[in-house]
Symmetry: C2
Subunit: 492 residues, 2 copies
């Protein structure tokens, strides 16, 4: 606490890293690329989990749990998926340690405990799950199978950043099986819609729903739906993906079902996931130079009350009033914390709660007691007002709703003003380097052009928006024909 | 479905395995010793999680998340702990796969991607957590640190059984740090009390609270508190443990704090955990030859409603009444499922819900409609009654409470009649081999005698009960003096 954050305009990346650590969200661990999610950060993640879990269950999905370790022979069964993840797999080769005869007190891998077949620490669970589904699906009556898993996964990334890209991360992965292609497509799109709904209405993060290009698709998918958000520095962040997997996994694991008509057919699949990466999106959508800004829906404490006192007597008098306020607030469903610590001055407490993004702060001192008032401070606008204790609960509840909406509006406004239509490659580069954000541009539809643009500008196609208008145009790079604009951006 | 279970008297172990699979709780996976927890089993686990999580938070604990992978050098720092787990560690040695040049389409471990330092898949997290706490604890103001983690762990067990002993399992592990020995001891005992409260009052499983003997303690602990339950076959099951770790981990990871008086002292620690093993305890405490019996607190569906109909018209008339019943039940907080599938006959549905332990079944047919009645069947007693639809919600709610209590009473009664005081080694062996259960016996307090008894009888000391009376006695094996009885049993 206490140290000022680097400002966003000075160094956005440094600001982000400092904020994550100083706001007590997460820190790097002793394990290369793996993070420790600290209690405050984890409490925010729990709120995301609870809401997503509710949304999944409401749409008929059930949770289950599949093994962490995947035998190599299963992992390699779906070739594209295997190829896509092979380079970042942590591999278990032994199942025992033993005393190291050369180093007393130290351990070494027991050479006699080598596994016959290596086990991959799951980077994603399609392989182990589809191998299991083979035993669960025989008939059309077993379909659809709508399952989700909350789990940790490991992808050995070389360059890591807290929440955004870590070797181990937490996520949910849905894996569904369907009788028809159409049903699977509907499911994949539905889950992407749920992610968008969650991002917009729960996290106050505006997102664009779209399809990935072939080269940006999930390894093993035939179509990848995604939601793309825009961070304050003008870079895009992929916040969730939902894949239509066709019959690729059903074929790799021989999962067939008997149709109503008695025929044997391969099953159609989807998978979809969001991860602790959402924490990064949250931070880089709303926060400011003072620290984290939390939408009330995600705040572990929506309100913090700080007493201003000189004597123990004053604290007691204040506490009495505060206890009533707390009761009232809880009665209307507001979470509130009374910060009565005597080891910190009010100013230091204010700074801490600002840094940690508590949406509303109530300060109450001796004079407030006399006047029947409190000072109410909004984290998002940093504005303060003095208000009557009478009717405080309704006032706070309404303010929290207003803050939730206001954050969404502000972020949407920023995002909307950072989607720029560009019609030439010069314009493309100019806007990318000055303004950033999404570039809405025509593209000739070939992976070669996509690669070339990425090579020249570091901007990739984030998505082909679901609502893209059909219009005549010419590719910004090649001048070839194009019938809709896609969104380019530099991305996390 | 449909196959009868092996009866418990024929083969208890076979009955257990069949029940777990047929009731759709879990199954073995393609990974040696690892299970798949199926949606129905996972829904029960989620209920346990939610209640435990509530109890932990109510007592001031916060959740966090620490890395899955532990560098070998950290793992070996606390020697006793390392020694205790070394033989069952899955070890990650490489971070990449590559195409196998000798087998097109297959992958192999990339020999160039060997880690400099091997990573242990956590069998428990003391090492990585205490290495982290070193950075979090400087002053007495940072204490106590009360943290819990929900996670998966891997212990490479050679003989595995669904839920009871699996290579990977899900659990929670609490890790706390305190300024004084006394406070840490209070915490360790408090958490054991919470486990006991949870087992008795939420799971309806009677448990005995006690201390482990030195040889049964957690590796690295100075004292292990435990709760011990008794299964229907007379074998004990350790359902939860809470460890006082002294300053062992603080010393191994050099975690000191500045006291109020300005001195540097090592921190005192506890850790405590329960796991998916509780699912095994649940099954083997309450279930019968018809299948699972669930206490209402743990039932994903507390009530299932089965319509008895011949025609579509009848189903519609029944559904109308059922929808009202469902509304009433939900209004009083009862979870209910309407099983209107037309692919199964009522008898088959009854069998399935019995197998899956749904506490109450309501059947309703055409004649019931005329009479304004339903048939209400209790899973625990298998008794049925016809009852009026009028007032059904209250009736069901009361019945569910009665079932919850009744299961606890029944299990407590069984457990109490299976604690037998024995005063000679002949009696010990006789009771163990005929009646089973807990043997309350004097023991001379030495590990040698404990080992000898285990070797001769396969019974181990399950615990030294917290409420053991001080009384003069002689060790059942050696005749040496003893001042209290301990509990022996064969155990899972």
């Amino acid at each position: 606490m206490g140290k000022n954050l680097t400002s966003r305009s000075d160094d956005y990346s440094k600001w982000y890293n400092e904020l994550v650590v100083q706001a007590d969200l997460a820190e790097n661990s002793a394990v290369r690329g793996c993070m420790v999610i600290k209690p405050y950060g984890y409490a925010i993640w729990e709120k995301m989990q609870a809401e997503l879990d509710r949304m999944f269950k409401e749409t008929g999905h059930q949770n289950a749990y599949f093994p962490l370790l995947v035998p190599k022979s299963l992992f390699e069964a779906e070739e594209k998926n295997a190829e896509g993840f092979a380079k970042e797999c942590a591999v278990v080769t032994h199942y025992r340690l033993q005393n190291d005869p050369d180093n007393p007190g130290k351990l070494r891998v027991d050479p006699n405990a080598k596994l016959e077949e290596e086990l991959v620490v799951r980077p994603t669970s399609e392989a182990i799950i589809w191998n299991t589904y083979k035993g669960w699906i025989q008939s059309y009556r077993d379909l659809p199978l709508l399952i989700n898993q909350w789990a940790n996964v490991v992808r050995w990334e070389m360059r890591t950043r807290l929440f955004l890209r870590t070797a181990e991360f937490l996520w949910q992965e849905g894996h569904t099986a369907h009788a028809t292609k159409k049903e699977a497509l509907v499911e994949a799109e539905q889950m992407n819609d749920i992610y968008a709904d969650f991002a917009e209405n729960f996290m106050a993060i505006p997102v664009i729903k779209g399809l990935k290009t072939e080269s940006e698709r999930f390894a093993g998918a035939e179509e990848t739906y995604c939601i793309e958000a825009l961070m304050q520095d003008g870079k895009a962040l992929q916040a969730g993906t939902s894949h239509f997997l066709g019959q690729n996994f059903a074929k790799a694991f021989d999962v067939k079902f008997t149709t109503k008509e008695g025929k044997q057919e391969y099953v159609w699949a989807t998978s979809w996931g969001v991860s602790t990466r959402l924490m990064g999106a949250l931070i880089m959508t709303h926060s400011d130079d003072q620290g984290l800004v939390l939408p009330p829906n995600l705040a572990p404490n929506q309100v913090v009350i700080v007493p201003i006192f000189m004597t123990q007597e004053q604290l007691e008098a204040i506490s009495e009033v505060v206890n009533d306020i707390i009761k009232e607030l809880r009665a209307v469903g507001v979470s509130v914390k009374f910060d009565s610590r005597d080891t910190l001055r009010p100013g230091a407490k204010f700074a801490q709660h600002e840094l940690q993004g508590v949406p509303l702060r109530i300060a109450i001192g001796a004079r407030d007691l006399e006047n029947g008032t409190v000072e109410l401070a909004r984290r998002d606008t940093l504005s303060k007002e003095t208000t009557s204790i009478n009717g405080i609960a309704d006032k706070v509840k309404n303010l929290l709703e207003e803050i939730q909406k206001s954050l969404h509006n502000k972020a949407t406004n920023y995002r909307n003003t950072h989607i720029t239509e560009v019609n030439s490659f010069d314009e493309f580069k100019e806007v990318l380097n000055t303004k950033g954000g999404f570039l809405s541009a025509h593209w000739d539809g070939t992976p070669e052009t996509e690669d070339k643009i990425k090579e020249l500008t570091k901007a990739s196609i984030r998505c082909i928006p679901m609502n893209a208008k059909v219009e005549e145009g010419r590719c910004v790079l090649t001048g070839e024909n194009s019938n809709k604009r896609v969104l380019f951006a530099k991305a996390y």
